[in-house]
């Protein structure tokens, strides 16, 4: 007597799971209008601290601005900071949202039961990530519009096609990092601390608000291993200096490498966490 499974798993069923998980996440997002308010308010106020600090450092008569311009390649410190912090804000949102997704499920007590479903477990993370990607892109579009309107920083001023190419290349890296991070969070559990640590590393090493040239050599070496460094560098070059394809080709190559490498790393870490959780039976613990 055969033990045929009642459930027929297929590509269509997996796509349905992806859709259902993405839709569920969208419904949750819509239930909290305050989150939408955050998406509108934060891009406007977040860079203010660094901008006013730079304004104070340059002096009432901008006497220290040439020192900055010599290192940054531009005296437009507002544009320089706004671009860096926008990309940083993107990874920050991803760490909180994608990174916290599994942890939130764990704390609500739904992770274990969801993982018992006869489906590819990665879909359970990938589906919500698609919704987070869509909402993050809305945040990014709003930020670009607000910076143009209120700070006079036209981020699409240079070559918009190149700008979009950089965005497309950095998306897999950002979500690869998010998935890797989310997997580690359910393994080590002190989620807030890990977000602060990881986002702090990106803030310090990628030159989000200052030129990388001021960093000591060892810190500059670390920066070369972070995809965000290349994304920030190339968007600044495109938007503030009108750089073309040839000027940012090296950055694009590195972004393409990370676009392949980071999702694979994220998936491997997810698989590792999944195996560990099955072996130790700690999926429901927190």
């Amino acid at each position: 007597m055969g033990s045929d499974l009642i459930i027929q798993r297929s590509l269509r069923s997996e796509l349905r799971v992806l859709w259902v998980m993405a839709h569920k996440e969208w419904l949750i997002f819509r239930r909290y209008p305050a989150w939408v308010m955050g998406y509108i308010i934060w891009p406007l106020i977040f860079p203010l601290g660094a901008i006013f600090t730079a304004r104070a450092l340059s002096g009432p008569d901008a006497r220290a601005l040439p020192a900055f311009a010599a290192l940054a390649g531009t005296d437009n410190y507002v544009g320089f900071i706004v671009i860096g912090l926008t990309v940083y804000a993107w990874i920050n949102i991803t760490l909180w949202e994608v990174g916290f997704h599994l942890r939130n499920e764990q704390m609500r007590g739904t992770l274990e039961s969801n993982w018992l479903c006869p489906t590819w477990r990665f879909s359970l993370l990938l589906g919500p990530s698609l919704t987070k990607l869509a909402t993050s892109l809305c945040f990014l579009s709003l930020a670009i519009a607000e910076y143009h309107l209120f700070f006079g920083v036209p981020m699409l001023a240079g070559n918009p096609t190149l700008f979009l190419l950089v965005l497309l290349l950095v998306i897999p890296s950002i979500y690869g990092i998010g998935i890797a991070f989310g997997s580690l969070v359910i393994r080590f559990q002190e989620a807030h601390t890990m977000v602060f640590l990881v986002r702090g590393i990106f803030m310090v090493f990628t030159g989000a608000s200052y030129p990388l040239a001021v960093l000591p050599d060892w810190m500059q070496t670390v920066a070369t291993w972070l995809p965000l460094t290349y994304a920030i560098q190339s968007i600044r070059a495109i938007s503030l200096q009108g750089a073309g394809l040839s000027e940012i080709a090296a950055d694009l190559r590195m972004l393409a490498f990370f676009a392949l490498f980071m999702p694979v790393l994220g998936y491997l870490l997810f698989r590792f966490t999944e195996r560990q959780a099955r072996r130790t039976g700690t999926l429901g613990h927190y």
């Binding site: 955050g38 006497r63 220290a64 640590l197 200052y210 001021v214 960093l215």
Partner: protein
């Protein structure tokens, strides 16, 4: 049949000053235990502000001329930018204490479902709220000592001024903040999802009081916001005493503003809290979130 029964109802609990103090101590001790239960978070609470200061330090380096941070000195009267931002970070951590340690902690109790049962105990709300904040105040201060030690050991942080005088100025500033925290906690009770409200308010309050930069560098149309915040004068006065920076107003005037803020905000904050608490009780919304 004797119908002459006494109608006086005696509460079993004996509410005294000692019982209030015991309640304050018990709530503070519970929060302290909670802090110790997450050692990685406790350790990281020292590392995190240093990580937060690092980008500001490097931003300062990128504007440095061969004679130091001269642009910054034109606003403040000192080129010691690092000590300026370190002191700003220390003092604004108490703003974080007000927003997250008082207001948001109340909301956390609400979400955990213990606020209603705690408030049913024969303990004054003021005692519960004070206990809630004491442990946070202690941890914030311990974290600040750690940051000062790291700043002193690795970043050359030194102060030349009178530390006791600076502490004396900090007392009315903290008490004024405390009063503000009571009022803000009341507001948080009325909001269903206060995360954004608390986060944005904490950030803007610290920003406009000049935790990272001298408020003189603000555009003219934003300067009134900074001048309306008592914390601005607290930061300015303490930096002036410890680092010798130039003040916005004469030092005596800034201290007088802090004293007035303390006298006004403490009772006002508690009155707002008391009023909102009554409204919540009448509407039965203490347990809702």
């Amino acid at each position: 049949m004797n119908t002459d029964k006494s109608t006086t109802i005696h509460s079993l609990s004996q509410v005294t000053w000692r019982s209030h103090l015991r309640s304050v101590g018990a709530v503070a001790w519970k929060n302290w235990l909670h802090f110790l239960r997450y050692p990685l978070s406790a350790l990281f609470s020292v590392v995190q502000p240093i990580m937060g200061l690092t980008p500001l330090y490097f931003l300062g380096q990128s504007f440095k001329t061969p004679t130091g941070n001269t642009g910054f000195a034109a606003y403040t009267g000192t080129t010691d930018y690092l000590s300026f931002i370190l002191l700003g970070a220390l003092l604004s951590s108490y703003v974080g204490w007000v927003f997250w340690g008082i207001a948001f902690a109340l909301k956390m109790d609400m979400e955990s479902g213990v606020l209603e049962s705690n408030w049913l105990t024969p303990v004054s709300r003021l005692a519960l709220l004070t206990g809630q904040t004491l442990a946070n105040l202690l941890t914030t201060t311990l974290v600040n000592v750690g940051i000062l030690a790291i700043g002193w050991l690795f970043f050359g942080f030194r102060v030349n001024g009178n530390v006791l005088a600076a502490l004396a100025v900090a007392v009315p500033m903290l008490l004024a903040l405390y009063g503000f925290g009571f009022g803000f906690a009341a507001l948080v009770l009325l909001v269903r999802d206060p995360n954004i409200l608390v986060d944005v308010s904490d950030y803007l309050f610290s920003l406009f009081s000049g935790n990272m930069f001298p408020v003189r560098a603000l555009p003219v149309y934003l300067l009134p916001i900074a001048l309306a915040l008592p914390l601005t004068y607290g930061l300015d006065a303490i930096r002036s005493i410890l680092l010798g920076t130039t003040t916005l107003l004469p030092l005596a005037v800034e201290i007088a503003i802090l004293l007035v803020a303390m006298v006004v905000l403490l009772p006002l904050g508690y009155a707002i809290f008391w009023w909102v608490e009554r409204r919540c009780k009448q509407a039965g919304t203490i347990g809702l979130h």
